[in-house]
């Protein structure tokens, strides 16, 4: 391997974010503001600039640098922008929740920034090494975030589970990587793809691929590697769950696209049966288990598993259109999930966690506007047209039908109908059930969130609707990222 001078300018998003993170760290060190206003806004600023830089510097090019470890192409640009924007959206909800619980410290935002950094690295990963590095940076930051509320037993338990299982999944992924390295004698994905396309005896590669798929499925929360999802979603503080369910999902998709499409794409025929299995199991298990949940966060966790199943349907198609559909689905899911968990953070007050479905009772009576946001999000997750969730499902189904997977598409829509039931149940509680006796709307304290955060929630809810009516730009972006 000859030594070349890396093109540092290509890695501008990562370098900027790293510098900005260090800046936030320093500023926070000297800040005595209990509101962490400066830290918060600097974090948001860094993330927004990252998104702009990523799209600006990566769009329309296809370069490989850092000795093959770093890829800069349209896909990485879109992935990074999506990651940074979703992270910014998720963090926007956090302050009013963290503050009264004594959790509002600069470290929260720093951990989130480091996690974002890890995701950026994954999005540009050109080799097994850089992908693994990014993944570990992301995972370690997330473990710490889940455990962030250290006085909460639930959070500690969730973090422990997440850590143990996550470490195991990372180990399995690494094991798979080692086999792939053994079979191809290269860490570079481009080289691995060449070997995979030519080899007559791919047995070792297949073993490696299977193990790597397990690792990716774990990160995505697809069944049967989903066991951590409900516990972590429920146990972690709501803002952390919010963060977990947005940007890291995109990172998991990025990991899949880099490892199993860029790298082992030639073996798709052997990969497809496994993906089908993941898709079917996730769709059925996620939707059926969600029906019996009483905790809203846990319900959303199972719904996340079902949505991971839909993403897997896109992957199963194995075409560029399918991958673009999966990417669009993930971004759409991130927007919906942000609104759903954001609503919970807004409804929570000091001393009161809004997380049971029953806590939403009579929401339409008390706060018709929030009820409207909940309506939009639930309807969108069901996949009713007019909301972004419809086009997400539509794209995935279309790619599946075009790839000839019509039975899978039919199963997916039947699963969507099952899913409709529990989303409707949430709406039933919020709209049809009247608040309990003696719980007059005047006596309830106002939601703890500031006007700005409530504004974010409204914009987020409106985005679900507006992007559902005018999806063209976002779809075109996702397709262009995959070279369509």
């Amino acid at each position: 391997m000859s030594f070349e001078m890396p093109q540092f300018s290509l890695a501008l998003p990562e370098m900027w974010l790293l510098a900005a993170t260090c800046g936030v760290l320093l500023v926070d060190l000297f800040s005595r503001d209990p509101q962490r206003t400066l830290t918060f806004y600097l974090t948001q600023f860094s993330l927004l600039v990252t998104a702009a830089i990523a799209l600006g510097s990566h769009w329309g090019i296809a370069e490989i640098t850092f000795s093959g470890h770093y890829v800069a192409d349209s896909l990485s640009g879109v992935l990074k922008a999506a990651v940074a924007l979703l992270a910014a959206l998720a963090l926007a909800y956090t302050r009013p929740y963290l503050r009264p619980r004594g959790l509002l410290q600069g470290e929260f935002y720093l951990l989130a920034l480091f996690a974002t950094q890890g995701m950026l690295v994954i999005a540009s990963g050109g080799s097994l090494l850089s992908l693994y590095m990014g993944l570990e940076l992301l995972s370690l930051s997330l473990y710490a975030l889940v455990a962030y509320h250290r006085d909460s037993r639930q959070a500690a338990e969730a973090a422990m589970k997440y850590f143990v299982l996550g470490a195991l999944a990372s180990g399995i992924l690494l094991y798979g990587m080692s086999m792939v390295y053994g079979a191809t004698a290269s860490l570079e994905l481009a080289r691995i793809a060449e070997v995979a396309a030519q080899t007559d005896d791919p047995l070792l590669l297949l073993f490696g691929m299977t193990f790597m798929l397990v690792g990716v499925a774990f990160k995505l929360g697809a069944a049967p590697f989903h066991a951590w999802v409900p516990d972590v979603y429920q146990g972690a503080p709501t803002p952390v769950t919010l963060f977990l369910s947005t940007a890291p999902k995109v990172a998991a998709v990025a990991l899949f696209l880099r490892l199993l499409v860029d790298g082992l794409g030639p073996l798709h025929d052997q990969l497809q049966p496994m993906l089908l299995l993941l898709a079917v199991v996730s769709l059925l298990l996620g939707n059926l288990a969600a029906i019996v949940q009483t905790n809203f966060k846990r319900l959303l966790a199972y719904s996340a598993i079902a949505h991971a199943g839909f993403i897997m349907v896109g992957f199963s198609a194995g075409t560029d259109a399918g991958h673009a559909a999966a990417l669009f689905y993930t971004i759409a899911y991130g927007i919906m999930a942000a609104a759903a968990f954001g609503l919970l953070t807004v409804l929570s007050r000091s001393g009161f966690e809004a997380e049971e479905i029953a806590d939403l009772r009579g929401l339409n009576e008390r706060h018709p506007v929030y009820a409207g946001v909940l309506l939009l999000v639930m309807v969108s997750m069901t996949g009713i047209p007019g909301t972004i969730g419809f086009y997400a499902k539509y794209l995935v189904l279309k790619s599946a039908v075009e790839a000839g997977l019509i039975p899978l598409a039919i199963l997916a829509v039947v699963a969507a109908v099952i899913g409709a039931f529990y989303y409707l149940r949430v709406l039933k509680v919020a709209y049809f059930d009247r608040p309990a006796e003696g719980e007059q709307s005047a006596e309830l304290p106002r939601p703890g969130a500031s006007a700005a955060v409530r504004g974010v929630l409204l914009v987020n809810g409106a985005a679900v609707l507006v992007l559902g009516i005018f999806p063209e730009r976002l779809i075109a972006l996702c397709q262009a990222a995959l070279g369509l």
């Binding site: 339409n364 047209p385 189904l397 829509v413 409709a420 039933k428 049809f432 397709q479």
Partner: protein, 505 residues
């Protein structure tokens, strides 16, 4: 003159109105009612412009086509022909009725009630006007949400069960339709509904597509045996919800058969016509008998709706055996036209009957037939209206109910004596349940003290029922007004179908 904007205006004006009403919210109930009535009224006037500017037999009119999601070749493509235009007008009319009827009676959150109706109006008109399959699907599904909330929030005691059942039933049917659309898109290279028409598809694929469409439309119509959501939804819905469900939502399913099933899958339609005919006949007779034994007024009318919609689907599918094609007599045309007239007529009659029940319910807060008796002694004007509508429901000549049923029976007589005989039984069964309902509720001695305290119709109720009575009688005496609009398009549709069939042979 109106091309390119009128349909859009009719769709989006009520939706905007709904948003405006929601924005007013709880600030002023009076303003809510006035704004809602204003928007519904203006929309209805605009839809009348549609009626008068329409040229019968002129193909798709008021067409509007813009790129919507160019990546997937999805267009914002609107237009109406003789089949859909009357349904658009009917929708605007029914919504205006409902909004006026809801000016009193609805006390809980009137802004959300009115807003839901207005938004739903725009979506339903969109269903009838859409010429792009995805646009159609968007409107078709989106209208479930306001209806779900309407039944769930303002419905009766068992409303939650009813509304979730309604949503899931219709949702399951329609997602299969979406898959059929995706398949058709791959065949036709476009999502244009008109491009789907006359597509050369093998019989096997046609049958699968037809079954997917049948799943969507049969649930909506609803046809036996997937009708069970309707009595629950109708019974538990507030009066306005029942009116819209009966007058418009059910028509969407029948419209789907005319717009999608017949022209896209003519061979499969012919092949499986026996199935649809059998389901329709069972609906006509069996559901009619079920209606007879109901103890709840709304449930009775709901079952009678299913039976009457059976006539429409019978008329649409009996054409294959009633001499479709140039050489045959006009049996097929009679059946088809009769089925279509039945749609509109049932829209008026069922709306009127549900409004009548609403009038009684507002006063007595019960729908049980047994709680009434001798209402005519206290409410003579109401009694007169109720009798008129019940007669129309039974298909008395001179009312609109007669025209559709008679034409369908005549048409199916040319297909088979037995079809006509079975369908003709409805004249007995329908008369039995309608008249028995009248006898038990309206006539006889005053049943109890609460009936004795009843007040007759107020001006608003009188106005609503009078307009409906005029329409029912008008359509019965001069059906040509409607048939003239629709027939050229129906003839065209049947020519296309028979051409496709002979091409396939």
């Amino acid at each position: 003159m109106f091309d390119g904007w009128l349909l859009s205006l009719i769709i989006w004006l009520p939706i905007l109105g709904g948003a405006a009403v929601l924005a007013i919210g709880r600030r002023s109930e009076a303003a809510v009612r006035q704004v809602a009535t204003g928007f519904a009224g203006v929309t209805f006037l605009l839809s009348l412009a549609l009626w008068f500017a329409f040229e019968p037999g002129g193909g798709m009119q008021f067409v509007e086509k813009r790129a919507w999601v160019p990546t997937f070749d999805i267009h914002y493509h609107l237009g109406v022909d003789g089949i859909s235009m009357p349904l658009v007008v009917l929708t605007a009319f029914a919504t205006l009725l409902v909004v006026i009827a809801g000016r009193t009676g609805i006390q809980y959150r009137p802004a959300q009630y009115m807003g839901a109706f207005l938004i739903m109006e725009g979506l339903m008109i969109g269903v009838f006007a859409a010429l792009d399959a995805i646009l159609f699907y968007v409107f078709w599904e989106a209208m479930l949400v306001p209806m779900f909330l309407l039944i769930g929030i303002w419905g009766g005691a068992n409303r939650i069960y009813a509304t979730i059942k309604f949503f899931l039933y219709t949702f399951l049917g329609s997602v299969l339709m979406l898959i059929a659309f995706l398949y058709l898109r791959a065949q036709a290279g476009s999502f244009g509904i008109l491009d789907f028409h006359g597509l050369a598809i093998g019989l096997e694929a046609q049958i699968l597509i037809f079954l997917a469409l049948l799943a969507a439309f049969a649930v909506k119509v609803p046809m036996w045996p997937v009708h069970t959501w309707l009595p629950d939804a109708h019974t538990e819905a507030p009066t306005g919800g029942s009116v819209i469900l009966a007058a418009i939502t059910l028509k969407m399913g029948a419209y789907g058969f005319l717009r999608f099933a017949l022209p896209i899958t003519p061979e499969a339609s012919q092949e499986l016509a026996w199935l649809v005919i059998a389901m329709s006949l069972i609906a006509i007779v069996y559901i009619g008998l079920v209606a007879m034994v109901q103890e709840d007024m709304k449930r009775l009318i709901a079952y009678s709706s299913i039976a009457h919609m059976g006539f429409a689907t019978l008329g649409f599918f009996v054409i294959f055996q009633a001499g479709l094609g140039a050489d045959a007599g006009d049996g097929a045309l009679m059946a088809m036209t009769g089925g279509y007239v039945q749609l509109i007529s049932h829209g008026f009659i069922s709306a009127a009957l549900f409004l009548c029940v609403g009038v009684l319910y507002d006063r007595m807060h019960t729908r049980n037939i047994a709680d009434y008796g001798g209402v005519v002694n206290r409410m003579p004007i109401f009694g007169a209206f109720f009798v008129v509508f019940a007669m129309a429901n039974a298909g008395l000549p001179g009312t609109s109910g007669f025209v559709g049923e008679f034409l369908v029976i005549l048409g199916s007589f040319q297909a088979s004596f037995w079809y006509a005989l079975i369908a003709g039984l409805t004249l007995i069964v329908g008369a039995a349940y309608s008249l028995w309902l009248v006898k038990r509720v309206v006539f006889g001695p005053v049943g109890n003290d609460r009936v004795a305290a009843l007040q007759d119709l107020d001006g608003r109720e009188f106005g609503l029922l009078a307009v409906l009575a005029l329409l029912v009688l008008g359509l019965g005496l001069y059906p040509q007004a409607l048939i003239g609009m629709a027939e050229p398009t129906l003839v065209e549709l049947m020519n296309d179908v028979s051409a496709a069939l002979s091409a396939a042979r």
